[in-house]
Symmetry: C3
Subunit: 133 residues, 3 copies
């Protein structure tokens, strides 16, 4: 298991981490199985999505803000970041990507993103490699 530290730069932020994860796979000499990419945080998540046009990330962030705006009259949590907790549960805390021949089997336009919902902060990402059957 390898731990990465990723700095985010705004309250809501999608930071590409594909290269760092691929580097963990390469440095382990790992050939075939699954790479599990996980954040031990409750106001951040991990997702796979388009890595080519940055407008996709813009549109995803706008939609997440529309679905779960920062404030609601019924929110009780004193820290004031309940929206970030909800987004984390909707997006999920991890992704698992097949590895074949030492490479993440990502589609051409597919990248791994750390999803920040209550930044900016330094976030930890844990990468666990699991051999295939």
């Amino acid at each position: 298991m390898e731990a990465l530290t990723i700095q985010t730069s705004s309250r809501t932020d999608l930071v590409p981490i594909t290269q760092q994860v691929q580097r963990v796979v390469a440095q382990a000499g790992f050939d075939q199985g699954l790479a599990h990419v996980y954040v031990p945080h409750t106001t951040a998540g991990v997702t796979l999505n388009e890595n080519a046009d940055p407008d996709v990330v813009h549109d995803m962030i706008e939609d997440l803000e529309r679905l779960v705006p920062w404030q609601q009259a019924y929110y009780r949590h004193r820290e004031g970041n309940s929206a970030a907790h909800v987004k984390a549960t909707l997006v999920g805390s991890s992704v698992t990507v097949p590895v074949l021949g030492g490479r993440l089997t990502l589609g051409t336009w597919q990248g791994i993103y750390l999803c920040e919902f209550d930044g900016p902060r330094a976030r930890r990402v844990l990468v666990t490699l699991i051999a295939g059957a």
Copy 2:
């Protein structure tokens, strides 16, 4: 693989199950890899989120109800629980948590929750342990 039975207590309910999952890891003498926590149900889910302030769970439930209210004019499913099916797909049927030195690598404020969306019911949770590469 170990099966847990968890009783939920209302239609929408987030039940903490971290201790039960940690017990499965300990009893198996499992040291390093992944713990997969899964519900074989279509109107329940599993998520990771804050385990400290119960107001976070309150706010998460309120937001899920706002996003997917119990009734819609276009619902056709006769059982009347379509909203629960949608919430299950948004939250997801499983989480996978890295294990290191026999411990779930959860953040300080992070817990595992069984998410009930059509309770109260007795739900099954399957825990599968997978050794790291």
Copy 3:
């Protein structure tokens, strides 16, 4: 790892793929562990949900369209399919199902679905089998 090709038939479509995944498990002679079912695409996903009443799929699709309609004034991505990217991140790119005695441990009413959000297209699904600890 096995690759399946699945043809979808409309813009938003949930295609049952349980039998194809079970066939991969059987042909591998795989007994116990996890089956990881993954789409290397950014406008499709994978989920577990009811396989009995097709009205559940209808209601799920209607709700996903309500939550993330095809157009928004703030969308910038020129391809025009940002809603599909958002749905893919909300639903997720993979599911992981425990296998016991050579069978996917699905509940009676539970099936695996490829979720198309920008079809119709031919989609790839990768199935990776991981032995239990």
